[in-house]
């Protein structure tokens, strides 16, 4: 092979190597960035279930639990007192820093009628909403009262 041809081949091989290296770098950096992280938090609802359970277990000044008061209010068809008590309780004990959103409502299951609701005004874009519910039985076996509870908390 002539000297001139060899030199040209050498230059081109250098260009080719640099091209290969650049492409390899681009490829692996893009692939590295595309890493998918899956966070598994499947049982969060069990955790807020404790909060809801304890809201309903909390007793008033007459030693009645809030779940008993909900039933009492259901038969009296007046939910003002129990809704106010729940609102004050949640405001007092709820972790506002981490979970600025909460929503609780009571629904009569027979006709899907909303009985009352308690809600926060908090808003956050970075919120993971977790929900749970508890059924409170009434004397009418077909009509349970379903208490739905939602918390919206910042992602960790």
């Amino acid at each position: 092979m002539k000297k001139g041809t060899e030199e040209i081949m050498f230059v081109f091989s250098l260009i080719l190597i640099s091209l290969v290296l650049t492409l390899a770098f681009i490829t692996f950096s893009i692939a590295g960035r595309g890493k998918v992280e899956e966070k598994v938090t499947a049982i969060s609802s069990n955790e807020i279930n404790i909060n809801l359970l304890n809201y309903l277990r909390t007793k008033d000044e007459n030693n009645n639990t809030l779940s008993e008061l909900i039933i009492y209010s259901y038969y009296k068809n007046d939910y003002n007192k129990v809704a106010l008590m729940l609102e004050n309780l949640i405001k007092k004990v709820h972790d506002k820093e981490k979970c600025s959103i909460y929503y609780l409502n009571a629904v009569a299951m027979k006709n899907n009628e909303k009985l009352f609701e308690v809600t926060s005004l908090g808003k956050t874009n970075d919120a993971q909403r977790v929900s749970t519910f508890i059924l409170i039985p009434t004397l009418d076996s077909e009509n349970n009262i379903k208490i739905n509870y939602v918390e919206g908390c910042k992602n960790e």
């Binding site: 692939a31 998918v36 899956e38 069990n46 404790i50 304890n54 960790e156």
Partner: protein, 157 residues
């Protein structure tokens, strides 16, 4: 063919090869990216493990749950809120925990203190931390009090 013509031919050939090589590497890169996407997905189970440990502390009668003929998850027996009892029930060396129970007074218990000697979770680069607050009822001498239980757990990444 003169020398100039030879060099021109050779250059033309190399340019064709470079184009071929670029096409080859673009295709190869696409294949590598496609293969790599599912391979680089990573399941972060730290949150799940922390959640299980917290629930173990709250639901288990050997940990904090009040027991009277049956177990009441979410009701904390104040007699069980001791370092000795919680060390028995939280018998893992890989996780550190800090429990703060606030009623009319506040008590703190730190478990596996070698992992959280200083301020809890000060080093977020090396530790995975979680922090959850529960509304609990605290049973103390048959009296039920309202309380806040904060459970923070950490482990080395």
């Amino acid at each position: 063919m003169d020398k100039k013509g030879q060099i021109f031919d050779l250059t033309k050939e190399w340019i064709v090869w470079i184009v071929k090589a670029i096409v080859f590497f673009v295709v190869a890169s696409m294949i590598i990216i496609i293969v790599n996407i599912p391979l680089s997905s990573e399941f972060k189970t730290d949150g799940l493990r922390h959640s299980l440990l917290r629930q173990h502390l709250i639901y288990d009668e050997n940990c904090l749950a009040y027991n009277n003929e049956r177990t009441y998850p979410g009701i904390v027996d104040i007699n069980k809120f001791t370092l000795a009892n919680l060390e028995k029930c939280f018998s893992t060396q890989n996780y550190g925990a800090q429990l703060i129970l606030s009623t009319d007074k506040s008590s703190i218990i730190k478990l596996n203190e070698k992992l959280n000697k200083f301020e809890f979770c000060f080093d977020k680069k090396n530790f995975y931390c979680s922090n959850t607050t529960y509304y609990v009822l605290v049973k103390e001498n048959d009296i039920e009090k309202q309380g806040i239980l904060n459970i923070a757990i950490l482990n080395l990444k």
